[in-house]
Symmetry: C2
Subunit: 413 residues, 2 copies
């Protein structure tokens, strides 16, 4: 029997409690012994709840109880999650967290503290929800040289984009639906502006490279400017618009960004809809592989926490070496990233077509029958972001002089 504690009895924390109870037998078989929740830490009381009698309000009860060997952190945010987790690790307890903000901000330090105290700081649930991507990276693909990763890492934005595509809604309508269904928070900034995806991408890149990646160095754009009409063109092209966190590694240089991207039909990410997440990897021996599943939600995320708890219980007196060192790996400037660009220009097509060619080189023209108004849409060849930005300035000026204007720019594979 291993005693455990759960810090934070919100959605994920109560999910962990439920998973441990519901799959008790499977978890005991996998861990080699039963997992028993001894304490649940929360400021609130939960009268009538199955966790009621386990509730404590003071973290020191957990930290000072030597019987507790595994602690789950599902409070979210940095404070008090950070000092609580650190105190648990220092007290020689394994910690499993679902908190990507914590891992992205303090992962390097907490991994070092865990190593020093011969325990594990685990965070399968921080990225990709229930998708076992962290463990796949350090258990199954540890011998691969990974050159690229592209992920749909945020369920909220993927739901919104799927809804816009399927029902022709605009961003605000789709966001409201997502909020109504509980998929988006009241303040949806972290999701829709791409911050959540950015943190998860940084965690994945640190896992892959073994070095610290600062999420603040990753160029990040959200989906608030994606328009209903964009999906008409995407469909005409057989593509989908997805918010991707994408990174590539070439000779030790790391490129990365978080942007809405027109994904090709043959990309396995193209069909990933609703709140699902998926992570596409390119590696030198295995080639392309993809990992798909529920990227969020109470039970899927709790299931990933439980997987960490099983691993901790099976290696109670062992530090499993994985994660990253304090060595930093800088992200290359986004100006060096290369992609194609999809542009919509409003105005007289006969006036702007020549201007587009002269500023952007050979473009492929894109038509979508259902689009209203005089509008021209084109897709450029692959070019450097920096070159595109320069060309864009010139383009804007020339289009404006001709009475036309850019309505939309989206990156494309």
């Amino acid at each position: 029997m291993v005693y455990t504690a759960i810090m934070g009895y919100g959605t994920i924390g109560s999910g962990v409690f439920e998973v441990l109870r519901e799959n008790r037998a499977e978890i005991a078989a996998a861990a080699g012994q039963e997992l028993e929740v001894k304490y649940v830490l929360d400021l609130r009381d939960f009268p009538g709840d199955p966790a009621e009698e386990k509730l404590v309000h003071d973290v020191s009860v957990i930290v000072n109880d030597p019987e507790v060997r595994i602690v789950v952190e599902t409070m979210g945010g940095l404070n008090p999650a950070y000092p609580f987790v650190k105190a648990c690790l220092e007290a020689g307890k394994h910690v499993a967290t679902s908190n990507k903000a914590l891992v992205a901000a303090y992962g390097t330090e907490l991994l070092a503290v865990a190593k020093e105290h011969h325990v594990n700081f685990m965070f399968e649930a921080s990225t990709g929800g229930g998708i076992p991507i962290i463990r796949t990276l350090y258990r199954s693909l540890a011998g691969e040289r990974i050159s690229g990763i592209t992920g749909i890492l945020n369920g909220t934005t993927n739901y919104i984009l799927t809804k816009m595509d399927r029902d022709g809604e605009d961003f605000c309508q789709a966001l409201r639906e997502a909020q109504k269904l509980g998929y988006a928070e009241k303040d949806p900034t972290a999701d829709v502006e791409g911050h959540d995806t950015c943190r998860k991408l940084a965690i994945l890149m640190a896992m892959i490279t073994g070095k610290e990646v600062d999420y603040q160095e990753i160029y990040t754009e959200g989906i608030t400017k994606v328009q209903a009409g964009d999906f008409l063109y995407a469909r005409a092209l057989g593509r989908a618009i997805k918010l991707v966190g994408s990174a590539s590694l070439c000779e030790g240089r790391l490129s990365a960004w978080v942007v809405p991207m027109m994904v090709k039909a043959e990309n396995p990410l193209c069909g990933v809809g609703d709140v699902f997440n998926a992570i596409l990897l390119e590696s030198n021996m295995l080639g392309t592989s993809m990992y798909y599943g529920s990227g969020a939600g109470k039970l899927p995320t709790a299931s990933a926490v439980a997987a960490d708890m099983i691993e901790a219980a099976a290696h109670l007196d062992e530090h499993v070496p994985f994660g990253w060192s304090s060595e930093k790996l800088s992200v290359q400037p986004a100006e060096d990233n290369v992609c194609r660009y999809f542009l919509r220009v409003a105005g007289r097509p006969e006036a702007c077509s020549g201007i587009l060619e002269s500023c952007l080189g050979n473009c492929e023209s894109v038509t979508a029958a259902e689009v209203a108004g005089p509008e021209l849409a084109v897709m450029t060849a692959a070019m450097r972001e920096g070159d595109f930005r320069k060309a864009e300035k010139k383009l804007e000026a020339e289009l404006s002089a001709a009475g036309c204007r850019i309505v939309q720019i989206l990156r494309a594979e």
Copy 2:
């Protein structure tokens, strides 16, 4: 430094040699020490090959060398793979194999021998090629209760079906193309008749249930009867035709079969094309998850063998508990499986439509504009296979009396 040996220097064996050389640094970092190939066993000589100086022709050199701690079996077939692997395990060596025939036929015994000698018998590469599905099942999803699995587990047949769909070819044309490209063997029976998929499904079900599953109990149909015209209907329905190995577990009862199936558009397996494989899982906490990648090929498969070698090297003196016991779990008769049925009937539509309804109940009529000849196609509601078989007999007799005949029957989700 850990010494290893490779038995069988064919496509996969030489791939393992290449992966170990090419990703030497990554593998050493992951395993905690360097892996060095000491011997390569093959009856042939390979003058000029990098493995030339490691070649031995007598397995006892490997079995009797106490320095060799990890042995790879990539010979294929049962003899001499089975006695060689057993001898290595009995000599206290870990074994990693890519040989699904060996695992399906002797897995139970070899797992027991490995346990007895405190080593591991590992077979990540036997199922799903490079997709890390075996490790995901015992490392990441060990605490989940898995209720269903559907896999595209054979790259050859998936290539043939994709080709038939995309280019309108018939089975024989597409098979010839696959043979020309090296995707199909001269004698393609094991692939196209579903035997390969069947063995892999049995391995996956044994992993999931922890019990022995006899692949010979799994009802298996191949793809030789799939017709070019079927894809026209599938497309009209937004579906794809895939050879799936599918199983479900309900209250300890195991249902399973290998059949060509009309898969729905919203099923993530629908878009899995070419030689790719994918495994879709349903489990009680995580929900739906999918694992996608190269299901075959020299380097992807070798990469999975290397992952097993890394795990063995990291746990050299440890038996990692996973796999299944000698307890048998029977597969329920296929008559109890439930699905929908798609039928094409040639003859006068006005004559057969009433007969179809009277024998099969309410059917959905399916039309595909491009189909030549007077033909009626319908999709039944979900029904038991046994009930369908009974209805089919009656249907055949009545249709024949009306001058019509069944052209095709395919199962559908």
